[in-house]
């Protein structure tokens, strides 16, 4: 079955420090992977996607994600966190022709 797991409900990081939000997936065939961000009272915004090619994918707002096929992971990263990065982050995988979302990870960046 196609699924996505985000093992951390919340990630806390100090401003200026690197951040990582974890995601693992289970899918048959080649994975199409996505990261979205959700700010309060707003819809989801697309950050980046992995379809094929380089394992390191660069996206919006300085975010990047590393695809690791052997570990079936697609972790979201940023070298230096900003307070404005505080939001809810969702990993998603395309399965059965639809996007299957994880439960989300709340990122809190402290000044």
């Amino acid at each position: 079955a196609q699924s996505v797991a985000q093992p951390e409900d919340q990630v806390n990081v100090a401003e200026g420090n690197p951040l990582t939000v974890k995601c693992t997936y289970s899918v048959s065939g080649n994975p199409y992977l996505f990261w979205y961000v959700q700010y309060p009272n707003r819809g989801l915004q697309f950050l980046l996607k992995y379809i094929t090619g380089d394992n390191l994918v660069k996206g919006s707002y300085g975010f990047e994600a590393e695809f690791n096929k052997s570990q079936t992971s697609f972790h979201l990263k940023k070298p230096s966190a900003l307070v404005s990065d505080s939001a809810l982050y969702f990993c998603a995988v395309r399965g059965f022709g639809k996007l299957i979302f994880g439960a989300g990870t709340r990122l809190a960046v402290h000044p």
Binding site: V4, Y32, Y36, N41, G43, I51, R94, G97, K98, F101
Partner: protein
């Protein structure tokens, strides 16, 4: 470029009442999606349209939920009668191609439904 528009933003109804949500996708986007996002969970696809045809409605509770996309543009999602467990945010999204397999989906701000 205008984004995905949804209305209303908030709705409070009593159980057994009916409610309808409206969505206007990004111009030119053939594919439209309705998602249900329960608090603390990721969005779950309810129904997917390409133009005015249904591509996937396998997770739509058809005994109470219905959706239409007349003329392949705007869409309406209806719940009748509502249950307490329908309390959630209803998100509309659109994308350029069927299934959005490699194209990202663009989401509207959502409608927060509270059923009392």
């Amino acid at each position: 470029e205008a984004g995905v528009a949804q209305s209303p933003r908030y709705k409070i109804i009593e159980k057994r009442q009916s409610v309808a949500f409206w969505c206007n996708p990004i111009s030119g986007h053939a594919t439209l999606y309705w998602y249900q996002q329960i608090l603390g969970q990721g969005p779950k696809l309810l129904i997917q349209f390409q133009n005015n045809g249904v591509v996937d409605d396998s997770q739509l509770p058809k005994d109470r939920f219905s959706a239409e996309r007349l003329k392949g543009v705007d869409s309406t999602l209806k719940i009748q009668p509502a249950k307490l467990e329908d309390s959630a945010v209803y998100l509309c999204a659109s994308s350029l191609v069927v299934g959005g397999s490699t194209y990202e989906q663009y989401f509207g701000p959502g409608t927060r439904l509270t059923v009392t």
